[in-house]
Symmetry: C2
Subunit: 278 residues, 2 copies
Amino acid sequence: MSREIKTLKTVAEMRAYGTERPLGLVPTLGYLHEGHLSLIRRAREECATVVVSVFVNPLQFGPGEDLARYPRDLERDRELAREAGADAVFIPETAELYPEGYTTEVRVRGIEDVLEGAARPGHFAGVATVLAKLLNIVGPDRIYMGQKDAQQSFLVGRMIQDLNFPTRLVVAPTVREPDGLAMSSRNVYMNEEERAAAAAIPRALSVARDTKSKAPEVLEQTVREEVAKEPLVQLEYVFAMDDATLGPVGPKTGEVLLSVAARVGKTRLIDNVVVGRE
Amino acid sequence: MSREIKTLKTVAEMRAYGTERPLGLVPTLGYLHEGHLSLIRRAREECATVVVSVFVNPLQFGPGEDLARYPRDLERDRELAREAGADAVFIPETAELYPEGYTTEVRVRGIEDVLEGAARPGHFAGVATVLAKLLNIVGPDRIYMGQKDAQQSFLVGRMIQDLNFPTRLVVAPTVREPDGLAMSSRNVYMNEEERAAAAAIPRALSVARDTKSKAPEVLEQTVREEVAKEPLVQLEYVFAMDDATLGPVGPKTGEVLLSVAARVGKTRLIDNVVVGRE
């Protein structure tokens, strides 16, 4: 595609942007990779207008996390977004989204306390809050998020439903490197050796799924054993949950969400598979 | 006015309601009184479409509060809203606004912890949450609220700003009975003797304002002494705060919000005046 991409820097510019409907929003922290681009291409297919937001939201990073070193390259992001079919990038300043006196918080209780929420206190309040803001600022008909951040997508879907945002959530499949590693902006943190070792994460998920079991203990134990074969990868957690509720697997469970977080050197990665989905 | 008023019972009906802009929303718990009607009339002057929501929001009532006995009369509300110029009433069911699995909460931290927030734990999370929902369902250009619930208006204004709702908050003056008592749906709870005694509340605020002092201790002590003259009225709290921040009065304070809560028999009433406003 050779068309131009518009850069919108303020809330007022975003609101004034003349948009044909339906409008699709792809919210990102920037440093776009193939996972984001697949969301943008999907939005392009389904929407008359596609907006990509790029905002490294400080509210969703905890103390000691990688906010400061989170990779940023706006020019590259603009170009990649344009090539994938976006009409505009929205790149607000932190000071405009969180001015002095800012105090409101959106909480999705229950969901925010497990998995990544337990590992990263406050993370999901930050995610829910910034997404409520982006939904109000951009006013999309559809919002596109990735299955890689399954809990985040679940939480945003819950928030949209609970607060009656007039927006439909579209969750697209995880895009993977040839060796299976889920695409992530954080993959660039790893050196060559770590990067090779990181493939143990999707491999473990895959082996667990291939057991054809839906029993949490079987799935979780399989992941533990598989990851243990790779000394450079430290498993942080593995949980099998009901994919429809993010609660415990029970007799009514259809599909099982098998989620892991692991560290490879200083890099923290997450991934998941849905067990029982065709 | 002789025109019809539309009754919208579901979120889908509300969303499908063809509306000319600007759209004004007057959110209420029903049992409309002159205070609400003044908001509807103001909205009628300023907006092409006026929607009045009537919803006794369980989230903003604490255990032991008056949720069950809160007065309800939908037919009367419809007629009063119509006469005041409303185009539609939106009367959702609790089960539709809070279905099973509902878990999202909007918090306006700091503000929710003082005055009514301190007296009624959870109250303002309930208020903020239902108003976020109503803003998303109705999509108003303007929302009209009363100065009588000063902290509630302040909190909603903060939430609108913080979460970037594309809606302007209009706060209208408190409407009072001839003896000064602020209009409230809860006034019907009082017997004749209590009703007469309740006038001590606005009288005390008025005497305090007439001191021309902006010193919190002077204002608060004046209210205490004045209310103490009426044995049927038990003061619950009186606070003088910076009207612009709801924080402590300081050197930068312009106007002072002097707020009281009091009980007359079993009826809990609130009121306030702004000191230093022309």
